[in-house]
Point group: C2
Amino acid sequence: MLVAMLTFALLLQAAANSPAIVPKSPGEIVAQAPAADWVDIKADDLLVMQLASGRRVVIQLMPPPFSQPWVANIRTLAKARWYDGVTVNRVQDNYVVQWGDATEKKALPPGMRKTLENEYTAKLPEALVRSWAVRVAQQVEASTRDGRPMPFFSDKDAYAPAVSLVTGVPIGMKEDGEAWPVHCYGMVGVGRNLSPDAGNGTELYTVIGHAPRHLDRNIALVGRVVEGIEHLSSLPRGTGNLGFYEDTKQRVPIASIRLASDLPEAERPRLQFLSTESATFAVYADARANRKDAFFNVPAGGADICNVPVPVRKKP
Amino acid sequence: MLVAMLTFALLLQAAANSPAIVPKSPGEIVAQAPAADWVDIKADDLLVMQLASGRRVVIQLMPPPFSQPWVANIRTLAKARWYDGVTVNRVQDNYVVQWGDATEKKALPPGMRKTLENEYTAKLPEALVRSWAVRVAQQVEASTRDGRPMPFFSDKDAYAPAVSLVTGVPIGMKEDGEAWPVHCYGMVGVGRNLSPDAGNGTELYTVIGHAPRHLDRNIALVGRVVEGIEHLSSLPRGTGNLGFYEDTKQRVPIASIRLASDLPEAERPRLQFLSTESATFAVYADARANRKDAFFNVPAGGADICNVPVPVRKKP
C-alpha cells in the first residue's frame, strides 16, 4: 500500500494549497466538459425501477472493489424478477426511503451469495490506486504549471481520516488504503437485521436527507440513484415508527426492477457520469468548494464530500 | 474575546479526548432527559405557517445575536399579515423549498429594517460566551470526574474552523469569536437577489436535503422548522430552472403565517427544545458521534454538525 500512502500524503499537501480558480459556476464547468471526460454507464450496471405509477428510478450499481457480493445478489434477484411487485414500505423524513418484500415470505432464487460484515470496507487494489495515483500526479503537475485545481481530497471530515472520489464513488479512507463508500444523498444501501446479519440485497433503501454518515462501515452501499430520485424523495412520509407506513394501503407498489441489460434496447437508459479522475472534475469540485460565481460573497474554502455530487447526464 | 479563545482551545483539546459512553441510543438518551434540560420556546419566537391544505408548519425564530434585523422584519411582516396568501413557488430536490409573493407586487408594511451583508455573522457577545464557557467548564469537570461526554465541538468541518451548538443553534466559528448559524436540514433562510442585496424577509426558504453549507455567511438564516417539515419536504419537485414550478397552478397556497403570540391561546403550539448547554445534550451528541446501540458495529468517533439535530418536543 505504499502507492496509497504516497497518494494520501500528496493529496493532503495539495489540499493545503488550493489554487486560484476562474469564477464559473459548477454547472457551467460541467456543461463545458469535453466528451472524453464523460464515462458511459454500462447497461449491466444500471438497475431500472419501474413504479406502478409509471414513474421510473434508475440506480447505478457500485463498481469493484466495493460491496460486490451484495451487487451480485441484486443482479441475481433482478434477473429472477424477484423484485417485481415489492413495495416501498418506509419513508422517513430526512433519512431514507426503503423498499422490499413486506410479506417477508418470497422465496429466494438460487445462486445467492453469502455476505459478510468485513466486506463493508475494501482495500483499494494496487492497480486501481496506481492508475488513480498516475492521474493525480498528472493533475498535480498541471496544477503547478497552470494553477489548475487539484483532485478533490479532504481530511476535514468528521467520519473518516480522509474523503475523496474514486471511479465515481464518494469514499472514506484510511492511510493504509482501506476504503469504503459513504452515505451521501441518493446512495443506495442494503437493509439488514442486527449484526452479524449483513443483509442479502432483498431489502434496499436510498438516502433522502442529510448524509447519515454514521451508517458508513455499518451497512453495505450498493449504488446510487442517477435518475428519478424525486419520485422517491417526494413520497408521503410514513407516520409509523422509523417512518414505516402504518396503513398497508399507503405502500407504494413497484412494478419491476430490472437490469437495463435485460430490457429491450429501446427502453434502456443511456447515461454517463463525469469521470472523477478527469481534469474537469477537479475544476468542478474546486468550484463547489470555493463558490465565486455572482451569488456568492464568501467562498467556503472547502466542501463536504456529499456536497460534491458526481454529475450525470443523458448520453448525447 | 479572550474568553471565546480560551473556550475554543479548551474544546479543541476536549474533542481530542472523547470519553467512553454508555450504549444507549440518542433517542433513549433524549427520552430520559430531566425536565430542567428542556427549554420552552416563547410564543413570540414561533412562526406558524398554515397551508391552505390544512397542514401546519412551525418555525422557531433565530435567537440573538444572529440575524436580528431579518427576524425583526419577519415579525413585522407576520403581524401585518403580509404573508397571508403567498405561495410555495420553488421545490428543488436535495436543496430547498421556497415561498413568497410570486407577483412580487405586494406593498411592504411600515417599519421594515434595512439589512446588511455584514450581519450574516456576529461576534458572540462576552456575556453569552462567558455563560457558555462556565457551563462548558462545569461539564469538563464532570467529564474528568465521571467520564461523561464533553459538549459537542468539532474542528473536523469542511466549512468553518470549528462548529458547535450554542443556545439551540448550530454554528460555525472562528477563534476570534466571530460566529454564524449554519445551513442544516430544516434551517430557514432569507432569499435575496445578487449582492449587495441581503434580502428583507419577504422571500423565505427551508433546507430539504443535504446541508448546503456553501450558503453559510452568504445569506441570512432566521430560524428552523421545528414541526411539520414533512409537509414541505414531500411536496412535488418543480420542473423549472432551480426547481421553480413551471405551471402557476402547481404553486402551494399558504393561508397564513402568524407569530404564535398573535394566535388565540388554544391554537398556539407549545414546544420545547433540549438545551444545547445541558449535560443531557452532551451525552446525546456524543452518542450521535459514537453509535454503540445494538445496530452498530463501527462507531464513527465524530459527527457532522448537521447530524446532531437539536431535539424538539411538545411541552408535556
